[in-house]
Symmetry: D2
Subunit: 127 residues, 4 copies
């Protein structure tokens, strides 16, 4: 998109926006899909659907979603679980102009927290 019509609305640089958009993608997907019923039977189809739903969004270059089967808690009389924030492992790459942000969502045991963080930010090395 050579001339993005949303550009005039933005303060800051392409790098700022890359970081911002990466945050939008992670926050959106977490709160969209949290609570979805899940077992080993449908985990793969849910992973693919989440990835596909991220890919249709603006500026996304790449995305990978994994549901941690080992942490999946199957319970109750009907033996199913739901998607929780600790189960998701996500990596998303966003590009704005010449700037790229790679962000991740991971449950971090040391923090007991599903952390969203920037893994890399700045100009892509060479593409």
């Amino acid at each position: 998109m050579a001339r993005d019509p949303t550009r005039p609305y933005f303060a800051g640089t392409d790098r700022d926006r890359a970081a911002f958009e990466a945050g939008i993608k992670l926050g959106s997907l977490l709160h969209q899909f949290l609570g979805t019923p899940v077992t080993r039977k449908n985990a793969a189809s849910l992973e693919r659907a989440i990835e596909a739903a991220v890919r249709v969004q603006p500026l996304v270059q790449d995305v990978r979603v994994r549901i941690d089967r080992k942490r999946l808690r199957i319970r109750g009389p009907y033996r199913y679980g739901i998607l929780t924030e600790d189960l998701l492992r996500v990596d998303v790459t966003v590009r704005v102009g010449a700037s790229k942000a790679i962000a991740a969502l991971r449950y971090v045991p040391e923090l007991d927290y599903p952390l969203m963080y920037l893994k890399a930010i700045g100009r892509p090395t060479k593409d």
Copy 2:
């Protein structure tokens, strides 16, 4: 499930519960997936993921989900849409003991409303 341990908690008949559970399934899926980014590219993967997520839930015998591509509103500079309640066509069959409920979600033009309704309720004809 010959002896369902949740049974003592329920007032009413198996038929009442079949209607109740059908309502749970439709309400849950609508509010779970509403807002998911969607285009013609990912509509099929989203349909399959919704169906699979319904199937892992209690007492579901059958489910069919369709996203109405013709009503899908692609818009904005980034050319994508989101899943709205008017786009979903769902049929779900729930069985409790000998009672079966078939429920549907359809956008009804005459009402300008995405209606959830019981299509059939009672004892299955012969299975």
Copy 3:
């Protein structure tokens, strides 16, 4: 609503529909609000907002929502939690014609499961 225009779409009795609508309300609210960030600071405002959002829906006569502060799990470096299905205690009353359904959502320790069930179904005693 003396003549409900949705009536012709429904199979079954008013009682069937009361059970169905009660299920819709519980399923909807659970999957709508699951994942909302919550601490003791905002639990009351969230309870009120959920109740108010249920009350604007069809056929609802009464609703009560409580978030279990004792089960609320505050964690991580930022000391907040999210709304999980085990935290919600909900009672909702739906009326269709002369039939009333009272449904509940409770975490049941014996089942290790957040159960949605019908507490009462049928004709109201006298109102």
Copy 4:
């Protein structure tokens, strides 16, 4: 939070993270609350609950949420609407170290799009 234990996980500067966190907040709230039943009766309670749920999240300094009553589409036989992405007007301020990001969500008629954008990013002028 003088020593944030999440810091070692982050690439980039405080400014990058401020932009990223602002994106998380907007993406999260949109996809959390989209689809909530709403009329003029419960719009104010929903606005307050969304604000309160954002405030308990990390690094948020300020947030303001408005639901556009004029764009609210009440419809169907039961005369209610749902929260759509075009109805929300949000401003959120996030601070990381000495860096501040102010982000907004607005429906922009020229773009026919609910745009999330950075209104300001960088060091706060003097506080």
